[in-house]
């Protein structure tokens, strides 16, 4: 059971868990208006945490059974899904998916634990978080294009609800904007997927990319112009998701308005879906188009790095600041992807994980401050390190990680990306230099943020009696701190699964990019 179906278990455990949460017996406490009262039932919470914990164990088991020495897909499971249309349930993982699945399972446990006090409509909340986890894990292991698209879109629905129901003041606007932006990109991608199928007769990523198969031969036979348009459809969907400038405008709204756990998953995992898409689909399917469009994407990436950092620096709202810092960091990740060499790709994947950990932690911390003061304005705080020294110390660690200080995880990832970009024949030193500027700027806004919120004298009287970190908050933050230093000091176990994949990707990309599609059998 466990051997043959570990991935299916990983995909569907949270879904089954969400049904369990839905059906668990409840004693609904309601006040006069029919509103549920603000206590999460222990049973609901227990089931949700239990399911998420099981999922994390399964993910770690997957890691343990993963063979780092090969670069192909492992733990494949295939079964015909829609008969007559050649759509298959086809899942498998390589090193990139493995790390992203681990990240998803890890952050979801923390999010559910953090949300123990969500209060309003807690049961639905847990259901949506668990459904989201299923969709995300599905995205990261689907190898059939239609299956991938299904999971990709499924991610939208629970997130739409999380933002729309539990978000802040402008939540409806943010939720709809988030949904529609992503939807525009993805429906065009669906047309692209169908186009590929009509011309190659296959939805299978493996079939389309293994040289010598009929599907791959037919893929090579598609006229370049049409293939470029299909690539554009895919790239647009992924660009919006990352997001790259100029499609980033949904991000600040969605991140700011989402409830804390929603922001953590959004920044931590959802953005990586775009990066993953570029690496998993664009690079193997359209290497030539990708190489040719690289200058455009590199420019957009470095614009994102600098622009995101500058805009982040001037935000009066902590959450918005962290949101814009994501635009900047994702720019660095995309710089790595479009370096199209093994260093850059490895760095991009690692930096995706790092960004998930450090930005996730920042969003948790901002959420904790918000819980105490019900405001996110930087000006409402100041000097609270004296009142909440532990939170201050944890915040400083997260800020250092975000600013890529050596010994923290951020440094490793960004360093790899910049080295990759420097050495790459596609990008080059100039892009690396602008990327490095982003690192400097991130130190500026992060440390300035810390200074304004935590340092100096306590400015506002109401901040005198803030609580320091509670037990629940410790439970959420300590694992993140451990990850920050683990990834920062001993990164080898995390690089090992990615490296062979990255090398193979880079090799095939360079092989096809140099002689104009002659090398493809």
């Amino acid at each position: 059971m466990l051997d043959g179906h570990l991935l299916s278990l990983l995909v569907f455990t949270p879904l089954a868990g969400s049904l369990l949460v839905m059906l668990a017996p409840s004693r609904r406490a309601r006040d006069v208006q029919g509103q549920e009262t603000a206590t999460t039932e222990p049973l609901t919470l227990g089931v949700a945490v239990g399911v998420a914990a099981v999922e994390l164990v399964l993910a770690i088991l997957l890691w343990a059974r993963f063979d780092c020495s090969v670069h192909g897909f492992q733990m494949r499971e295939t079964a015909e899904w829609i008969p007559g249309f050649r759509v298959w349930y086809d899942v498998g993982v390589d090193g990139i998916s493995l790390l992203l699945i681990l990240l998803t399972a890890f952050l979801t446990v923390l999010c559910i634990a953090y949300s123990a006090r969500i209060g309003r409509r807690a049961r639905e909340y847990m259901v949506f978080l668990l459904m989201l986890e299923t969709a995300l894990v599905g995205v990261f292991c689907a190898l059939d294009l239609v299956l991938f698209y299904v999971f990709w879109e499924l991610v939208l629905i629970p997130m739409y609800f999380l933002i729309g129901i539990w978000g802040h003041e402008r939540r409806i606007y943010a939720a709809v904007k988030f949904f529609l932006f992503t939807f525009v990109g993805s429906v065009l991608m669906l047309v692209g997927i169908v186009f590929l199928f009509v011309h190659t007769g296959s939805f299978s990523l493996v079939g389309l990319t293994s040289p010598g198969t009929e599907a791959a031969t037919r893929l090579a036979g598609i006229p370049v112009q049409q293939l470029t348009l299909v690539y554009a459809a895919f790239a647009l969907a992924f660009m919006i998701k990352v997001p790259m400038v100029p499609f980033h405008t949904w991000l600040p709204d969605a991140h700011v308005e989402a409830p804390t756990a929603g922001s953590v998953i959004l920044a931590g995992v959802l953005l990586k879906m775009g990066v993953y898409g570029f690496l998993r689909f664009c690079l193997p399917l359209f290497p030539e188009q990708m190489a040719r469009s690289a200058p455009l994407f590199l420019v957009l990436a470095v614009i994102g790095v600098v622009y995101g950092a500058i805009v982040a620096a001037v935000q009066p709202d902590m959450k918005k600041l962290v949101a814009y810092s994501s635009v900047s960091h994702m720019g660095i990740v995309m710089l790595g992807v479009f370096s199209m060499n093994s260093l850059g790709i490895t760095g991009a994947v690692l930096q995706s994980i790092n960004h998930g950990v450090s930005t996730g932690m920042l969003f948790f911390l901002v959420g904790m401050l918000y819980d105490r003061r019900h405001t996110r304005q930087i000006a409402a705080f100041g000097g609270i390190r004296r009142v909440t020294p532990l939170l201050g110390a944890l915040f400083l660690i997260a800020a250092f990680s975000s600013a890529a200080l050596p010994l923290t995880n951020g440094f490793v990832g960004e360093y790899l990306v910049l080295q990759g970009a420097y050495l790459s024949t596609v990008s080059g030193p100039a892009y690396a230099a602008v990327g490095a500027l982003g690192m400097v700027l991130s130190a500026v806004y992060m440390l300035w943020l810390f200074q304004r919120v935590f340092s100096g004298p306590v400015v506002h009287a109401e901040n005198e009696r803030l609580r320091d970190a509670s037990a629940r908050e410790w439970i959420v933050l300590v694992p993140l701190v451990i990850m920050i230093f683990w990834l920062g000091c001993y990164v080898a176990p995390w690089v090992r699964p990615v490296q062979p994949v990255a090398e193979a990707m880079a090799a095939s990309a360079q092989e096809t990019a140099r002689p104009a599609r002659v090398g493809r059998p």
Binding site: Q33, G34, W81, G164
Partner: protein
């Protein structure tokens, strides 16, 4: 003797229709016998039994091939008719369930409603079987007459009367176009039978002025019936004004009947120079854009669903365009077959979602509180969470989001259009469904996201039937979205 054996076999082919007629007669007869008034469930139950009987007669699937002609070639039973008939009868079943609750709660209960519903249903069924333009027309009229009366069934409500009159006038207008087109077609091809028309078309019958006129008139007639732009204006008014249960019924079944018949007609017209194809293509594009754009501005859910019906007619017209590619090389032939199946599947997905959505409105309505507007469903989740989440499923299906039947349907439309080589149409479908997503999501956010006390209050009353209908529709929508294979085999059209 051979003749009578043939007649018996032919009658066997229309057993479902006979079952519907029988049920209609029995319903009318019992109406005369049993006590009238609130709480009488006999007519509704009898109609359900009639439709179930019809389904049981239907579910043996004809062999693939060119089908079995019946009644001297005037009817044709093939995979297209059997698969679309299943969609039709299923919609009828759910419509009766929705009507039972809705009519009882709005104090509109009269046995005649069910008799008319069954007759309309049989008319639509006749359209699916028609292999002759005249039979098609008879089916169309039989279907439409029921609709006209049902739309005006809430006699006390001026808007219901308005809907009935509007629907009747435009419907009559459309019928006139249709008859005129049939006449011209007879002149151009020498027959009203599809097989003869098809061979005449292959010989170039459509190149004459009479042939062109015939196709133009038929196209306009169908465009009225399926509410394609620019012949769509009646739809929002009728959808809004008619009693919710009648709107649900006509939204689902009229589409099934009209589009199944349209597939047959335009499949027959595909040969020769399919000069109507570009015109229909433009109409499809305009319909998709127009329906979706105007729906954005609506605050009445029923009216919004009226515009959404127009938009979905646009998506289905894409299928008809693909059907018209039948003789354009192997790709065209393939697109033709794919589009047939896509149409049937899409009709099912659409019927389930629309019936479900109207079913939810009926489910939460009571006498003196006919739920129609977005404001009325504000905060519904806090009053009746299952109903609200069922509505979410229907909206997501209409928007074509994965894990719902609507997605599989939309995906098949993409597949047909791209196979036929018409990427532009596929892209228009894609982009307009983004517009659509906006107003479907708005229903969701009114029910789930809006703060403040809910407008509705929980009403304890018997509404089992609508509840069952909503549950079945929601269940099938999700089931077909996750494992479409369970019905895809039966629904696929093969020749």
């Amino acid at each position: 003797m051979a003749g009578s054996a043939q007649a018996i076999r032919d009658l066997g082919g229309i057993l479902p229709i006979l079952a519907l007629w029988g049920a209609a007669v029995v319903v009318l007869a019992t109406a005369a016998l049993v006590r009238r008034g609130a709480g009488v469930r006999v007519p509704g139950v009898l109609s359900l039994l009639g439709i179930l009987l019809a389904i049981s007669f239907l579910v043996r699937r004809p062999e693939a091939g060119f089908g079995t002609p019946m009644f001297v070639n005037s009817l044709l039973s093939d995979t297209l008719s059997s698969s679309s008939a299943l969609v039709l009868l299923l919609s009828g079943l759910l419509s009766v369930l929705v009507a039972q609750t809705y009519l009882r709660r709005l104090l509109l209960e009269m046995p005649e409603y069910y008799a008319l519903l069954l007759l309309s249903l049989s008319g639509a069924y006749l359209m699916l079987l028609a292999n002759d333009l005249l039979v098609l027309f008879i089916g169309l009229e039989l279907m439409s007459f029921g609709f006209y009366v049902l739309a005006g069934f809430a006699k006390q409500d001026a808007r219901s009367d308005e809907a009935a009159v509007k629907y009747f006038l435009t419907g009559a207008f459309a019928s006139a176009f249709m008859v005129f087109g049939i006449m011209l077609m007879y002149g151009a091809s020498g027959s009203t039978e599809f097989t003869h028309i098809q061979s005449a078309v292959a010989r170039g019958a459509l190149r004459t002025p009479m042939g062109i006129g015939a196709v133009a008139m038929l196209t306009v007639g169908f465009a009225f019936k399926v509410s394609a732009v620019p012949f769509h204006q009646w739809a929002p008014d009728v959808y809004e004004g008619a009693p919710t249960s009648a709107t649900a019924f006509l939204a689902a079944t009229a589409k099934v009947g009209a589009f199944a018949a349209m597939l047959r007609v335009f499949d027959a017209l595909a040969g020769g120079s399919a000069g109507w194809l570009p015109a229909l293509r433009v109409s499809a594009i305009v319909t998709m854009i127009g329906g979706n754009l105007v729906a954005i501005a609506q605050t009445n859910v029923k009216r919004m669903l009226g515009y959404s019906a127009i938009a979905h007619a646009g998506y289905l017209l894409v299928c008809v365009v693909c059907v018209g590619m039948r003789y354009m090389g192997t790709q065209g032939a393939q697109a033709n077959m794919l589009a047939m199946t896509a149409t049937v599947f899409y009709l099912l997905a659409y019927a389930l979602a629309t019936l479900g959505a109207f079913g939810v409105l009926a489910y939460v309505s009571t006498s003196g509180r006919d739920v129609q507007t977005l404001d009325q469903i504000r905060g519904l989740v806090r009053v009746d969470a299952p109903a609200a989440y069922a509505m979410v499923i229907f909206m997501l299906s209409l928007a074509g989001i994965p894990a719902t039947a609507g997605f599989i349907g939309k995906w098949q439309i993409f597949y047909s259009a791209v196979t036929g080589g018409d990427i532009t149409l596929a892209v228009v479908v894609a982009l307009t469904s983004v517009l659509g997503a906006f107003f479907y999501l708005r229903v969701v956010w009114y029910m789930l996201f809006e703060e403040g006390p809910p407008t509705l209050t929980a009403a304890a009353a018997d509404r089992t039937e609508a509840g069952v209908a909503v549950f079945v529709a929601a269940f099938l929508t999700v089931l077909l979205g996750i494992v479409p294979g369970v019905l895809l085999g039966y629904l696929s059209v093969v020749r």
